[in-house]
């Protein structure tokens, strides 16, 4: 008990002393850490009341109720009344690729050109972005840093959010290629000041055709080892065909998603639908074809005037019911700190709380292909752990007090807390 109090005091003193630039990445885990008397939300649906969790050298070594007594040289954290969660994962974000949306010089997520599979987000990921720390303090510990724009803007990598540079940050390199499918939404009916005359069907056919052709040619090219001229774009999708990479197809509406399913069939590749606003309509088709869905921003308005007012909130529950593998995402970068609350809403509208948690942890890890090392609090996985005094998915009670990435206790201070302290000081507030 004494030790835990010490930890709290350390955290507080950090806040007062550190400026943003002195929020250091944490050193490797030293002593074994024992979390005891906690409510442990494993991430796979299981909850362990009065549970204990042990991690050593960055890995979880034990989770359960009646663990052997802690070793004498370990750190014990008595978490009575507190909750322990797996670190939340943001599956799609331009985090670290932008700092100020409106300032062009800070934007590094949209390269010129339509088909750029060789472009890699990882090398532009800025570990010193001031946004990152504001996510960690809400329990987001990993993110897939994703390029945008054109048809195929490049590859994304998963990073952990406590690093000196992008090399350190890399958690899974170049795990996914992204394809932003053009929309098949019929042009609007009321020709106002900006009448839309384009033929969306023709444009869709042309652009998806372009991507299809690219993949066919790439596949053929990759059958042959020797080439007079190396094609970097083809080389960049090699792992797609060996299923070491996934193709994230960004689309929302039924016909688009059906085309996405067809891509999976034709090329024998792993396809993930990103967006999926109308995925609830064809949940069974997605299930049948083992297509996973990243639902982007459940906190959205319904697609159509007639849709159920809570449709976007309950889509997750409909996918859950149909047995589709899905996870939840938020848009953007700074917004990711609200990702746990997207899950909270999904729970209000049909998921159990533990299912909702999986939707931002274990399901996400599965979809990103990192579930062997993270996504749940299970033995052998990385100790990516969040501790909160209350329900992490409800802003009413979510207060993150500690977080660990690969066993390293990370500093939860951030620019916002520092400015808070600065102005509390100004006004003499406690």
């Amino acid at each position: 008990m004494k030790r835990i109090i010490l930890t709290y005091i350390t955290a507080l003193s950090c806040m007062a002393a550190f400026a943003q630039e002195t929020i250091y990445p944490a050193p490797p885990q030293g002593k074994t850490i024992y979390l005891i008397n906690a409510t442990i939300h494993v991430g796979n649906g299981q909850v362990i009341e009065n549970g204990a969790l042990t991690f050593t050298n960055g890995k979880i070594t034990a989770v359960g109720n009646n663990l052997p007594a802690p070793a004498a040289d370990g750190t014990i954290m008595d978490l009575k009344g507190n909750h322990v969660y797996p670190g939340v994962i943001a599956p799609l974000s331009n985090l670290g690729l932008t700092e100020v949306e409106a300032v062009r010089a800070t934007n590094d997520f949209h390269e010129v050109g339509e088909i750029n599979p060789s472009v890699r987000s990882l090398v532009a990921y800025n570990t010193d972005s001031k946004v990152i720390n504001t996510l960690r303090s809400n329990g987001i510990l990993l993110a897939q840093v994703t390029p945008e724009g054109g048809l195929i803007p490049g590859t994304s990598s998963v990073v952990q959010l406590d690093a000196w540079n992008w090399e350190d940050a890399a958690y899974k390199k170049d795990g996914a290629i992204h394809f932003y499918m053009p929309s098949l939404l019929p042009p609007p009916s009321t020709p106002g000041r900006f009448p839309v005359t384009k033929d969306v069907v023709a444009e869709f056919a042309e652009k998806t055709g372009q991507v299809r052709t690219f993949l066919r040619e790439a596949k053929a090219y990759l059958q042959e080892d020797k080439h007079n001229e190396v094609n970097l774009k083809f080389e960049a999708v090699r792992k797609l065909f060996t299923k070491e990479q996934k193709l994230f197809i960004h689309c929302n509406f039924v016909k688009e998603m059906l085309v996405a399913v067809d891509f999976a069939k034709e090329f024998g590749i792993d396809v993930v639908i990103a967006g999926g606003a109308d995925s609830w309509i064809i949940a069974d088709v997605l299930k049948q074809n083992n297509i996973a869905v990243v639902l982007i921003q459940p906190h959205s308005l319904p697609v159509l005037q007639d849709d159920d007012v809570d449709q976007p909130y309950k889509t997750a529950a409909q996918l859950q019911q149909a047995g589709v593998l899905y996870c939840l995402s938020n848009e953007g970068f700074w917004q990711q700190r609200n990702l746990p609350f997207e899950a909270g809403t999904a729970s209000t509208y049909g998921l159990t709380k533990e299912q909702a948690l999986s939707a931002v942890t274990l399901n996400t890890a599965r979809i990103l292909g990192i579930d062997k090392s993270t996504g749940s609090l299970e033995t052998g996985k990385d100790a990516n752990i969040v501790i909160s005094t209350g329900d992490l998915l409800d802003m009413r009670s979510s207060v993150v007090t500690h977080a660990f990435i690969q066993g390293r206790e990370i500093n939860l201070n951030n620019k916002h807390k520092q400015l808070y302290e600065r102005y509390k000081y100004k006004y003499g507030l406690k």
Binding site: P188, D306, V399, H416
Partner: protein, 1005 residues
């Protein structure tokens, strides 16, 4: 018509022969014009006898005579036939007044489309050259009579569907100048023009104007209003103004019938309101969806010009495309043809126009459709003839058949709305225009044909329609042939046996028999004659009428609308946890009695009396959420950002009661929203506080008696930091300049207030004077501390108070100054990083300001987030340890105070409005849902009722989809399925009718 039909000119000469009528290429004399050749003056006296004459929609004369002379009607009825009259036998024919169209651009020059879009070039003043007004969209000086030239092709098209007279104007701009009344006669312009200035024309559409202002509907409205005032002021010939031909014309045009074109039912009310303010009763050129709000239409007391361009059925074969078509669109397809019937039922004067019809030939089909959908035939005829003439006070000239009026009339084969009726001739100003010859004489019947040599006899039967008869040879097996009648010339061809060679005959249709020559099946010349032996006794077949099956109008016209508007009832909410926001705090197991829309009593175990009981066990009752910063329910533009000061524009003018986001926000517990102008300029427009009374019209949505507010803005948006490279001209481009805009505006306002009684009334300065006199209050979009500080100083200098800073993401840095000034704050819970000026935004902002003593609200600025404002408030518990009760006040009592309505709303207290939310859980928890949301004691959202509405939407969609599929199968032309869009705005949506794509979720602030 035969493949070998004659060229048109020759044909019409033949027609003359057939009818024995004389009319033609002579020009009636016009005194001032010299004649080249021998004068050929004719009086053109005609007598049409034995006709069924429909003098006007209510008066039918049988076996009557119409006499005309010199282009006018001499007598109608049983008047004597003058000796010099050419007599035309009209037995079996009908005579109607030619139609009148009040909404035409016939004979006016084509209008170039405007540039549109807010990325167009910067243009502050009008590009019209000459001594005209400042705004290019005010074209009151345009005189349609001066630009009119007759257009032969256009005239023929209109004549052929029955029009004789049109009111034409140049359809361009907000004030469009005068309309000219012309006939469609093929005469000199001088003759065709019967009223040089017959109307003054207006719209909300700036048309071809390249000037930036106005870019929004509210800007158009403000411009109209200001122009009325300027024109009044101009009557005193102010020396400062010099000559202003636009204002001069505006004043000159005031005496004319004033016609206003709108594009939506709500625009009708907007136009009518402007009219009321300035003593003008507009005639409304309607949009076609007015049937959706008939009580409001009645209240305008306007006459209407109704279009007939009903939407085509939507091609819904592809269910995935059909999904994007909203029920409201489908219902509009079904109900649009009921418009005229609704106007007849409501006893509103109206007429029809062909304007908007893709093919003007569809005119009568569309009128027939209106009749099928409930319009009486008599009213339909009136709406094409006398009603339009009356509406523009031209019924002394046209519209009915009366002596002295223009001889504009139609000759038809039967009653005008019978689908088989043929329009033969359209006489205009006493001159005949043949529309269709075929069938003038109904030749159908049985004939005995004799062919010589050989004296072979055949029995022929002519069936089909009068205009296109079909021939058959009656014998053992009836054989079909062809018959072609071109004027007096006829030709027949038919085989004598199945598959055999044809007998071909050609000749002349005489008065008693047809005679001619031909070639028989063996190639020899023959002579022939055919004698009429018996008439067909079968009347023309008319499509059987099927009973109409149509859905109900919803209020608002939207899937979630009401079938009849809800009424207040007394309610007792029992045994809830009541968050009072008063000293009593949170009360467990408490009842709240609602009577007459007010909170009557709070206590334990209250008797229900007659009140409906709602069980609140396990639930939480809170005051309704008030969103201090919202842009929902706004039509056609949230910003009039074309000038830095636009205090004259008013959101009140453009409230859109149909916005489904009203309903969606009720589902999130919102009961009142402060609708703000955007943040594109320093001094934006006046705002409007509404209550979310779903189903009410714009006036009823308004929060009665609330203090007026206005939107100001500072920082990046007003200095155009993120508007792109082309927008670098508008002052200010820096925060330094913003101060000058403010100082200048208030200095001008102060001087204006002091100026004498004859000053030009300036609506922009009026609003600023109200601020100086604490009669209007500011809510100011702001981010960084320097600009907040600056505005406080400007306000202090001019001795007014800044009521609210909105967004105010650096408010925590100057909270002490705000408190000292008395300014409140409406902020976001946790937004940041989207632009440079929000780099220091922190989620602890609300807490710090509140703890320093500033009245703080959390608001949305976003239609989605507004549905979760309770959650946004709850973030202050997480960021800064606010208590739950204080957090709830951030979205209830505190915004009520900011808006000066806390005496009525914001807490649960006896006497206050019953604007309440019953939550399923602690309202600050993400797990809470609004079960019921009440405004004025009316349950506007009920989660159970919502489930029923979903069922209704699904059933109604399905019914209409099936109906449209049926139409397509029948061969009715369809329109492509197009996605129904919502109008959605954030602060920064720059100008004009921005419509958001369905998935465009960008929150750019």
């Amino acid at each position: 018509m035969s493949k070998f039909s004659w060229p048109r000119k020759r044909l019409s000469r033949l027609c003359l022969l057939l009818g024995g009528l004389l009319a033609g290429s002579y020009a009636r004399a016009q005194e001032t014009f010299p004649v080249n050749g021998v004068a050929d003056n004719r009086e053109g006296c005609y007598a049409f006898v034995k006709a069924t004459i429909v003098k006007n929609a209510g008066t039918v004369l049988n076996n009557a005579t119409l006499v005309i002379r010199n282009g006018r009607i001499v007598s109608v009825g049983n008047g004597s036939v003058p000796k010099d009259a050419v007599v035309i036998d009209c037995e079996g024919k009908y005579i109607y007044p030619s139609f009148v169209d009040l909404y035409s651009d016939y004979g006016t020059p084509p209008v170039k489309k405007g540039p549109g879009g807010y990325r167009s070039e910067v243009q502050f003043l009008s590009a019209t050259k000459g001594a005209y007004g400042w705004n290019q969209a005010i074209k009151s000086e345009v005189n349609a009579a001066a630009v009119f030239t007759k257009d032969d092709t256009g005239a023929e098209t209109l004549r052929n569907v029955g029009f004789g007279t049109v009111l034409s104007h140049q359809q361009d701009g907000i004030a469009r100048g005068t309309g000219v009344l012309v006939t469609l006669a093929d005469e000199r312009d001088n003759k065709a023009m019967i009223k040089e200035k017959a109307s003054a024309q207006y719209s909300f559409d700036k048309g071809s104007s390249t000037q930036n202002y106005p870019s929004s509907l509210m800007g158009s409205i403000a411009l109209l209003r200001q122009t009325y005032l300027d024109a009044q002021w101009y009557q005193s010939h102010p020396a400062k103004e010099g000559t202003n031909l636009s204002l001069q014309a505006w004043n000159d045009n005031r005496a004319l019938p004033q016609i206003f074109e709108v594009s939506d039912k709500w625009d009708v009310l907007r136009a009518d309101k402007i009219g009321d303010e300035f003593g003008v009763q507009y005639i409304i050129k309607a949009s076609g969806n007015e049937y959706q709000r008939m009580p409001e239409m009645i209240a305008t007391k306007a006459s209407f010009i109704l279009p007939l361009n009903f939407p085509q059925p939507i091609d819904v074969e592809d269910p995935n495309d059909a999904r994007f078509v909203a029920l409201s669109e489908m219902k509009h397809w079904e109900l649009a043809p009921t418009e005229a019937a609704a106007f007849e039922k409501a006893n509103i004067p109206f007429c029809f126009t062909a304007a908007g019809l893709k093919d003007v030939k569809q005119l009568l089909a569309a009128v027939r459709k209106s009749i099928e959908y409930g319009l009486s035939e008599q009213k339909a005829l009136d709406a094409l003839t006398l009603a339009p003439a009356r509406i523009i006070k031209a019924d002394d000239q046209v519209g009915s058949l009366e002596p002295g009026k223009l001889a504009n009339f139609l000759l038809t084969s039967g009653t005008i709305f019978n689908e088989n009726t043929v329009l033969f001739q359209n006489w205009i100003q006493g001159k005949k225009y043949v529309v269709k010859d075929e069938g003038w004489k109904d030749v159908r019947g049985t004939y005995t044909l004799t062919v010589n040599p050989g004296n072979a006899k055949y029995t022929l039967q002519l069936k089909g329609t009068a205009a296109t008869p079909a021939l058959s040879l009656i014998q053992q097996d009836t054989l079909t042939g062809t018959v072609t009648i071109n004027g007096q010339l006829v030709k027949l061809a038919f085989p004598l046996k199945k598959g055999g060679a044809q007998l071909r005959l050609s000749g002349v249709a005489g008065a008693t028999e047809w005679t001619g020559t031909g070639v028989d099946t063996s190639g020899k010349w023959v002579k022939w004659s055919a004698v009429f032996s018996a008439a067909n006794n079968k009347p023309d077949s008319v499509k059987p009428k099927t009973a109409l099956q149509i859905g109900n109008v919803y209020f608002p016209f939207n899937g979630y609308g009401w079938e009849s508007l809800p009424k207040q009832q007394d309610l007792l909410i029992k045994n809830a946890t009541v968050w009072t926001n008063e000293q009593e705090g949170k009360l467990e197991n408490t009842d709240v009695l609602v009577r007459n829309g007010k909170i009557a009593q709070i206590g334990k175990n209250l008797p229900a009396g007659n009140a409906r009981v709602i069980d609140g066990t396990g639930k939480h009752l809170t005051p309704g959420i008030i969103d201090e910063h919202s842009h929902i329910a706004i039509s056609k533009g949230v910003n009039e950002g074309t000038q830095s000061v636009t205090s004259e524009v008013r959101i009140a003018d453009v409230v859109n009661p149909d916005d489904v986001n009203i309903y969606r926000q009720l589902s999130g517990g919102v009961t009142a929203s402060h609708l703000l102008h955007g943040s594109a300029n320093t001094i934006g427009g006046q705002s409007q506080l509404i209550k979310l009374r779903w189903g009410a019209d714009a006036e009823e949505l308004k929060f009665a008696g609330a203090d007026p507010f206005i939107k100001f803005a500072l920082g990046e948006n007003v200095k155009q930091s993120n508007w792109g490279e082309r927008q670098r001209e508008r002052f200010p481009q820096t925060r330094m300049g913003v101060e000058q805009v403010l100082t200048d505006a208030f200095t001008r306002a102060r001087d204006y207030e002091k100026a004498g009684p004859n000053k030009r009334r300036d609506l922009e300065l009026d609003a600023l004077v109200e601020i100086l006199n604490s009669k209007r209050f500011i809510t100011c979009h702001s981010y960084v501390q320097s600009e907040i500080n600056m505005l406080l100083h400007v306000a202090d200098t001019f001795h007014f108070r800044v009521n609210t800073f909105t967004h105010i993401l650096e408010g925590y840095k100057v909270a002490d100054k705000m408190k000292q000034h008395g300014a409140g704050a409406g902020t976001f819970a946790d937004w940041w990083a989207y632009k440079m000026e929000v780099q220091d935004a922190i989620p602890y902002n609300a807490t710090i300001m509140q703890r320093v003593g500033v009245n703080v609200a959390i608001n949305s600025d976003d239609a989605e987030m507004a549905r979760r404002l309770n959650q946004e408030a709850a973030k202050s518990i997480k960021y800064g340890d606010m208590t739950e009760e204080e957090a709830l006040k951030l979205v209830t009592l505190n915004p009520a105070k900011l808006l000066h309505v806390d005496a009525h709303v914001g807490s649960i207290k006896a006497g206050k409005d019953a604007d309440l939310v019953l939550w399923s859980d602690n309202p600050l928890s993400i797990y809470a849902k609004a079960d019921k949301t009440l405004v004025d004691g009316i349950v506007y959202f009920d989660r159970e009722k919502d489930l029923e509405l979903r069922q209704r939407i699904s059933a109604e969609r399905n019914r209409l989809v099936q109906k449209m599929l049926g139409e397509k199968k029948k061969g009715t032309p369809t329109q492509k399925a197009a996605a129904t869009m919502e109008e959605m705005y954030h602060c920064e949506d720059l100008q004009g009718g921005h419509q958001q794509r369905l998935t465009d979720g960008n929150n750019e602030l």
